[in-house]
Amino acid sequence: MGAAARRENPDAPRAGQSPFALALGRTFEARLIDQSAELLLESLQRAGVISTTSRDFEDHRWRDNGGKLGDLDSSVEKGRLFLGDLAAGRPFNGVISSFTVRIPKGIMLPEANLIVDVLAVQTGGEIPVIAVGEIKTYPDQGGHTSRADLATARAQMGLYVHALEVTLAAQNLTNKIKVDTYGFLVLRHAGSMNPNIRAREDLRYQRERARRGFELMESSALRLNGRYGGGEDEEETDLMDLVLNASTSFQDSCVAFCERAASCYSKAMREDRGVALGDDVDKFLNGVSLSRAIELLRGQPATNAVESDLFQRMIDPLPELP
């Protein structure tokens, strides 16, 4: 959406992330897996994610992410081989950093690579169990941690659970390795570079949501008949036009994350739509324009049933005091 926003307005601010936050993220992740992930393993043991005797660690990061593997393909291959070995009985109790999976190509969608920040593996039971973990650099505020941030992290983890299940199915390993539907979050302790672990994050519904999302994306891609791009600034004009001319559904939540929110807001203002004053106003007006609502407030008669209904709802609901 950033590319589309800049096509609409070359001066549109880039949402971007703080360079300090990005650097901190890299440092934090590196610290977690430093010295064979000693700190991460100990913390995960204490949180009950892995058994207290789990000591195994593998680093699947590729060079661009600070690892030793040559490229992304090497990470994917290493992940694929690992799952095969695990299903074949390789004992492994511990964690893997940057476990990378490649979701096979759909009918229309291209293949997709997903990097799971931390994969916890336990092979002590009947079949091996793998659990996804997500590293976030924001501080753990206990019961006061932003619900929106947690929801985003859980949605991400749900996607990883689905991706691992798809990958196992593609490798015919579905019944040989279990993907745990409980994941874990690795947050930072405020004011330090040490982790706080939040285990037992229930991902069942987020996994289902991800599965449904993939189905919808596939059907959308089918409708586009192969015309999709990578969202870069130098995207072909006709593809970008497709995005720019697609209908949008501007709402309050857009302001928080979408780089096109400013232009969609201006458009809502130009079109005299209630959503410019918020989702609740849009719903309240039920399709009546803002200026028409003001005219009704000022005493102009309603001209149809929708306006009559709105007029009734706009009458002061508060009693007159004696």
Binding site: Q17, L24, Q141, G191, I197, L277, G278, F284, L290
Partner: protein, 505 residues
Amino acid sequence: MSDALETLLRLRAWEQGKPINRGQRVNVAISDDEDIMSVAFLRMGGESRPWGVAFGNPGSPPTVLSVPDGRDQTLVGDTMVILAKALLEFFRHPGFSTSSPDNFEVESARQIWLPGPTHIEMLHFLALTYAKTRFKRDDVEVLQCLGNLANCLYIEHQRPGQQIVISAAAALRECFVFPSAAIRQAHLGHLLGWLKGGSSRADRIGAATRAEEQSVATMLNPELERSSLEPLVDRWNEAKVSGNKTDESESERAISRLLTKELISRWNLTNDAIAVLRADQRKSNSGLSELVKSGARQFHELWGSRAVKEYDGDIPYWPNVYTDTNSKTSAFGYIMRNAANQEARARLVHGDRELQREQLAAGHGVIARVVSVSAAAASWRLQYSYPPLPTIEPGDYFVIAGSPTEQFVVRSVDLESREMEIEPQWKKGNSKANPPKLGPTDSSWKGRELVLLDDAPFSLTRNLAFRARKRTTGVSDILDLVQPYVRNQATNDELGAMTEVGESE
């Protein structure tokens, strides 16, 4: 206020092209300048400790502190010690002031004003960072005191009706209805743009939109960090390693200049909000003084008494910085907040007729005419006109709007004839009172039309909270059946694994 009413008010504000008054009174307490500590924070991207802070009374230039690199624990700690001493003195901590929190009944009420929600959140970050810090430095106790004060301020901020920790943006929203989406109203500059941005709707929208382009949160605009601050911070770090003192001090000054400008801008916006509210033509709600007194007592229980105890050498139990982990403590907190909500409503509604209208529309009272006053039995017959179908029941308590000491208990209600019989609970009038108070059997009540409001039993609700917290040994208390919370988490502070201490049973 109902959501539909809020939406309607926003449309009216849009129709007028400017913010409109919410209520007939200003329902936010504003202390005198010397009793306000206005504070604004900045933090480096990703960090939770402050990179800089501006603080001071609104009438004087602020103290502005910043460090060249917000990741430097020691430098940040040094500035936080300075902030700690100022804040602890301001809130009359016995170790840092000549007064004591124990004097809350006679001393003036103090407030901390912050620009908005992210600055309030910074109080929690200070609590998480310093309340239980094991950071080894000489003045670590000062930081721990700051952490506990910040935690109590953060908790206090969540209590309905509190008047100690004020978000300037929330205070403006409490007093005005703004014609813009709720999500945009968290931005203090946006709100002030609407209030002070010109005379036409277009001017005001323009001012509000331009203001939104400037960050007022604790985080800086990422572009400013990338283009200006990151190179300076890198230069400062490199100079420090290489021992280039000139470069080190030059880059430090340049960073300080940039951060100071940003801090002052946030601090000034907060004080602009205070000035706007002080300049409002409306009077302050007469119920605020009681609310302020009650809040002072409750904040003393939360922080002051513990600070004094700690200063005297005892070990107080400070609230957990993460959450309540004990079912009884959680139940206590929940019911106490209900009581606080009832109290805030009860204290403010008598001073603001607009709030009375809202209370009536929400079913918390009736409009009624006195049909008869019985001299002998001290009972009144009333005919109510609003609402058509009230939820009144015999045994309910009501007070006359604007006169909370004139209380009644309902004896009977006839929904067909819309009549009710009520019994006044006060015994005699007071002609010297201002306004004079009539006795319950005074015949001049007859024929008057009155607004009667629910008498919110907040003191009873508070008693209920204390009962919920009380330890029991039987099986009659549902809270005893709640399984102890099983932690599936591991916590590490700056020195490593932390022993997690739950709430005392």
